[in-house]
């Protein structure tokens, strides 16, 4: 049990720390790489729950596809660095905003609130269904039966996103 808690704690710490670095990293590439780390440790948490498939998908889609997408966007754009213009005299308000302290405080307050809510809620054990090991076969069968319509809607959504990306970014030819 302790080993489980320890590894969960380590994964959670890595996730949170890298998520924090995503927001605060000065170089936009570093932010993207921190994000990949964050996604990876989330997949570790899935592995701890013995959901291999979800863990693999997490890596495949988030650490693989989405991070690469963002990296491409970075390489194709000219934005390299997020600079906060150093002003001679900054007011206290500006300094607070620049330090990201507010975000940390709000995040902590929110986390504390959610922890409190979970603490006071007595979640009945049987309300949480024990899914067991989710197999690819089950996922496939569900996609073809119950989730046919959402699946198709999702594919239309992706098509739409593609059209949108093209018409918003394509070079205008004369």
């Amino acid at each position: 049990m302790t080993a489980q808690y320890l590894s969960f704690g380590a994964l959670a710490l890595v996730t949170l720390w890298s998520a924090y670095k995503v927001v605060t990293a000065r170089l936009i590439t570093h932010a993207a790489l921190w994000m990949a780390l964050s996604f990876t440790s989330v997949s570790g948490i899935f592995l701890m729950l013995q959901q291999e498939f979800i863990a693999a998908l997490q890596v495949l889609i988030y650490a693989g596809a989405i991070t690469t997408m963002i990296i491409f966007a970075i390489m194709l754009s000219s934005i390299r660095e997020i600079r906060v213009e150093p002003q001679e005299k900054r007011s206290i308000g500006q300094r607070i905003r620049a330090s990201g302290l507010l975000a940390v405080v709000v995040g902590l307050v929110f986390a504390a609130f959610m922890t409190y809510v979970y603490y006071v809620s007595e979640i009945p054990k049987e309300a949480v269904p024990d899914a067991g090991l989710l197999t690819v076969r089950q996922v496939g069968a569900t996609l073809f039966t119950r989730f046919t319509v959402p699946f198709e809607v999702a594919s239309i959504l992706l098509l739409l996103a593609m059209i949108g990306a093209i018409i918003l970014t394509a070079k205008e030819t004369e």
Partner: protein
Amino acid sequence: MPIDLSSVNPNLLIILPPGVLAVFALVVLVLDLYSQEKRWLAGLSLVGVLLSLVALWFASRPGAVPPGDYFGRMVTADHFTFYMVAVLLVAAGLVILFSMDWVPRRLPKVQVEYYELVLFATLGMMFMAASRDVTLIYLGLELSSQASYILAGLLRNDPRSNEAALKYFLNGALASAVLLFGLSILYGLTGTTYLPEMLVALGQAPLPLLVTAMVFVIAGFGFKVAAAPFHLWAPDAYEGAPTPVSGFFSMAPKAAAWAAVLRVFLEGLSIPQVMDKWSVLYAVLSASSMLIGNLTALWQTNVKRMMAYSSVSHAGYILVGVAAAARAPEVGAGAVLFYLLSYILTNAGIWAALVALENQGEGTEMADFRGLAQRNPALAWSLLLLFVSLIGIPPTVGFFGKFFLFRAGVQAGYVWLAVLMAINSAISVGYYYAVVRNMFFEKTEKPRLELGSSLQAVVALSVLAVLVVGLGSSPVIQYAEAALGLLGR
């Protein structure tokens, strides 16, 4: 291993309206590649919407599709679905109709994409209204939202359009995240995404977590419908987006979001422990939306921006019905559904007028309305009637919409809210009158304002509908109230 298909329960007729729309959207997409002349594709999109309406008519005949859930409990056949899908299709049809002259002038490069995006957005909204499963409701919401973000930024060389798209996107993404967070807590508590089952399972759910989830869902939907503390994106998005797109925003996506709100709260969260809580929360949102929307609208000089604040205040009026629906479901939800129809019918004409002004190369400032009564008396008088309807003066449809909301509020015991609504209707006279004064009592040297045939059609339809639906409102409201009778019970 063969897959057990018995639980799918397919029904061609219920999926036909969205199916027709999807097919037309894809066909238009492909034809765009091969056709030099683009204008007829707008007509084709309109035909798609009309055919979808026809399919809906076939599906909604009594006995054609037995009420129930189809496609793995994803698509629901009931009066609520039929009513809302019809309303959304009408809105989409009107939007396509009043964009037909505008799009070739302002968006020559992406003409056809414009119609595709409208069709895809409508498709998403149809699923939002037609499902009792939060998976599909959320996916539909995303489909319509993504299309809306792209539509808002279609004027690529206009920084204000870019700003509108970005603001809308960032706020919308945040709203989606908040909504999804709430929904995922609900799923965690109940183990199902299907609303009726969720309702049953919520009985044993711990209250603090349930209320937290409920607040998140309310906040998420609050963003989407631009209710008052969550409305900050709306004015900028409306002002910066291309004018017909702003019109579209004020009509269809909001109506679909209202449909989703009614579904989720009346079918999923209507257990007694939380009903009062969300009812009161919605009542507070309603009061703040009405007050903030109306009072801010008084100071606006841009009509698009004014209409944005006006739509915030109208979201407040609709929220009266939603709050009332907790205590008097049929009356409250019926009033909301009727009001959605009346708001769409009224707004179509007003936005058509704005589009007409832009077609002549003019802006949408208050000053551009000067002397409209000289330039096109018919349009000016139509606008007057439509504003009267928005204010809620008989015999227009707006009056009946507000009357039903008022009645629902009083029946549910929200007398203070109903009174506030009446007061706010009076306040709203102020800013609508500013436009009317500019139209009728100011002089101008500008030439006559010509409307294209499609714009004339929209204005005429709008005016006609405002009168006809208003005076003949009883079958519509009966259908709307009956819609809820089948919903979930």
